[in-house]
Symmetry: D2
Subunit: 297 residues, 4 copies
């Protein structure tokens, strides 16, 4: 249980709902900031303005998944105005107060560094990235079905990159009956691809292998779907690029060749906000519990 722990939740989207529910269940004291339009009963939670939060007593602050922008503003789907995280406000919190975010860009990172506050960009964690790969895969499947006139089954699919998301994509598209090839650059990844019954290709030799590709899914956050690859890709192929902005595809050239290439960020929050919220809720509660364990020892 998290009884007695004080947590501020600031802004965010549908994913925050699951998180708030869970923290309530575990009996934390919650301050909901910039969430005034949020519906539902949350025992132990109160909707307040940022300046009303007892900042110096907080044990944790939970920011929206994308963190803050470069001026400190944060997204919220449940309030009219974007809240802002300022140095002045953050200076008040105690040094053990954990700051949770999905990802962290410069503003947030340097602010926490300066104030020596423990910042936890959850999406950097392998476990979170793997859990998140599940809704990501389903979002990708949905897009593949929506954007083609043929079935995934029996089509030629190439998954580029065999990291946390690539592994899940490869497994699922294979299970749906596609002819999957997966690319990697490490020998051990190529070995694992082979073990999974999938055809391994080296990311460097991608351009030689795409000639009969129907659907190309990229997870590599580097310009690997370049002119050379695009030149060999059939014009009718579909590209779904999952890598974080700006993706790994030369979109300009793809467009020139008339290839349908889609940059598809943030799929978990779009196709399965409940599941995505539960993933965050589960990891955050666990980390708060551990903290608790440490504190009491």
């Amino acid at each position: 249980m998290l009884t007695g722990l004080k947590v501020a939740v600031i802004g965010g989207d549908a994913r925050q709902v699951e998180l708030i529910k869970k923290l309530c269940e575990w009996d934390a004291t919650l301050y909901l900031v910039s969430l005034e339009h949020l519906e539902g009963e949350f025992p132990g939670a109160q909707k307040v303005k940022l300046e009303e939060v007892p900042a110096e007593e907080l044990d944790a602050i939970i920011l929206p998944v994308p963190g803050t922008d470069e001026e400190g503003y944060m997204e919220t789907h449940f309030a009219d105005e974007s809240p802002r995280l300022t140095k002045e406000w953050l200076k008040q919190v105690k040094s053990s107060c954990k700051i949770f975010t999905g990802i962290s860009k410069d503003y947030l990172t340097s602010l926490c560094n300066e104030l020596q506050l423990p910042l936890i960009p959850l999406f950097d964690r392998n476990d979170v990235a793997i859990y998140n790969s599940i809704p990501t895969v389903e979002g990708t499947i949905m897009m593949a079905i929506q954007n083609t006139d043929f079935t995934i089954h029996n089509s030629n699919v190439i998954i580029v990159g065999f990291g946390r998301t690539g592994k899940s994509l490869a497994r699922s598209f294979h299970a749906l009956g596609a002819n999957v090839r997966a690319s990697a650059r490490k020998q051990e990844d190529l070995a694992r691809i082979f073990e999974m019954g999938i055809e391994p290709i080296h990311t460097d030799s991608l351009s030689d292998k795409v000639k009969d590709c129907d659907i190309l899914i990229n997870t590599v956050p580097a310009p690997v779907i370049n002119v050379k690859v695009l030149q060999n890709l059939p014009q009718t192929a579909l590209i779904i690029d999952l890598a974080s902005k700006p993706g790994g595809t030369d979109f300009r050239y793809a467009k020139k060749r008339g290839i349908n290439a889609i940059l598809a960020p943030g799929l978990p929050g779009i196709v399965a906000p409940d599941t995505a919220g539960k993933i965050l809720a589960s990891v955050i509660s666990q980390l708060l519990l551990e903290k608790r364990g440490e504190g009491s020892s």
Copy 2:
């Protein structure tokens, strides 16, 4: 090859395109009726009016997938006016001319009976139904992703009916990591479900098993998702009913209980017209080739 064979294709949707391409490749002589807006080059094919077709010389007539309505009118996505199949016109064709349709309702069935013409409702064939189950499954997956806030993975899915479509659904949802239960009424089907690593339930005891169901997918063309089942289903569950109209769900009662129940007909033509067209093209060409084989022997 189908050289010399004369075939009329009347109306239809995107699925006809693959069919026409294939028949051209195999060198049939084609009369395209009510398809004047169809784009593309089809060597050996000519766009004509129904009355211009040399009816008495035809070896085969290919109708739209849904056949005709009860007055003989047929759907077309590539013409301004719906063509009509009349007894007068059909009387002209020779008795060996095969009439292909997806499904056949009363008007078409009795017309062909009366004129003693060989009518082939392709969707009645097991092989066609099984091939078609593949795009049907993908359409169902797409709908499940679009209409829920959680992932298919780790959700409780019940597939009702274990026929040609049910088998494919069970396999695919299981492969995506759902906790699948599948229902049937034959002992041998329950045995096969078990062999596939899926939990079997008897269709008759459905109402006892739906309490924790997240997604219920029906394939039984009979009222099995009745009040008793719906009463036990969580209000948050999603129902996707694939059975031919009017489906197997008591939609009125589902609505009353606030359960989201969707009747989803014609998925293959919607999500994968290319694949769906190729399935028909392949079976029709094979049947024409066999006919040919017989004729020449």
Copy 3:
């Protein structure tokens, strides 16, 4: 419950043990014949000689899985002498007494016909055949591993026949990462094979497809692995023939060509007698229960 029901179990192998356990649990009255060396406590069961059984009171007689030989003798692993089922003895039982066996050859079949007794050859039932396919598959996997120097994974496996056993084999070898092709002669079976992500081949064209085959598994009880097929099979290939004696392989010619061809009957009883016994126990109890239901109505 089966309280009051009188059942004789005559001879048999390890599979009978599970059956006897289950019937005891369900409170049947049991006469164990030619099972004197059977160890364990079976409440409600007594070990007796055939002539001591109150034949006229029996509700069911359970024979060994292979039934009787052509002189009426039955296998037993738990007695020194083979019991014999004679017309004289069987004449005593009442006409509603069910005779259970795995398979039935001429002697048994004509005896029951003559006496108008309900004979139930369990292996003829589709559900039993499907449940039994599970241990059959595992026995086949074991043999494939034992009799080759290479892995099943990534080897070229052909499954001949896509009936109750063939379907399970295809699924499992595919899941283990083999390159599986499966043969059938019905269009609908070829369609289902394709849907499963496996390469379909027509049984008639087998000889054209075996050139790179590493492991050939036959389930067709007809001479399909003939000289023509064997001529094209690599000499290093392994044949596992599961079809009932004499199998579907020309063993003489296989030997001549130096191909290792193994006839492998009775795998369920060998690799998983517990499971195989439970399958029979479950179906027999269910049938007895139904009978009971009928009787009491």
Copy 4:
């Protein structure tokens, strides 16, 4: 091609055969030592005594998979006498000569250290360990089938450890229809297990989870299958311990409780020497080719 490269292969088992074949194909010059009973034609290879090998000209030396014992002796299945690797002999080779072995114990490791020779224990490589996990899995499946009376399908299997071998085991037993749980201690491994549709358990809480376990497979080279775990394991369970000697099981206590616990080392060489040999052949040739690339530049 490896033309001009001089390689000595000393002793070994069936796995060496594939290796030698491959090196011959690639046109290396081979000295086969303590392999006099090896059958087959190997163009470019000569069978010689250790002292006849032109040691100072060698580019690579390939030892048996287990390396040497603590006195330098090496296994051979194809000669009457075990060859010995001495410091005197090894002193002659040039400093760029690569020494390949499967695993390396103290004697070999310190000898190569002392002489500053590049020693390559192939089984330490992730790619080799993953490729090897494939025959290891099949050996484990074979043992599970041989040593139980029930099917893997529908049995409760626990895989302990989720490293290179554990991942492959989990995937394959799940695919065969077992109810698999897999244990790990890293959050990211638990996440991946969940993503694969398998139930994750923390290795530390193993003792709470084994109560209904039918088959327990250990891959952790540390004493994790301890008294506490064994006390909770059903007496009828089977333990297959794959971890390198002495395994992770308290075998003494298991025996006391009457639990069948099997230490099963070296499965790849036993069940699939061909495949195991090809894995080594492929990695060694690749490393020699790379070397070559470097040398020529």
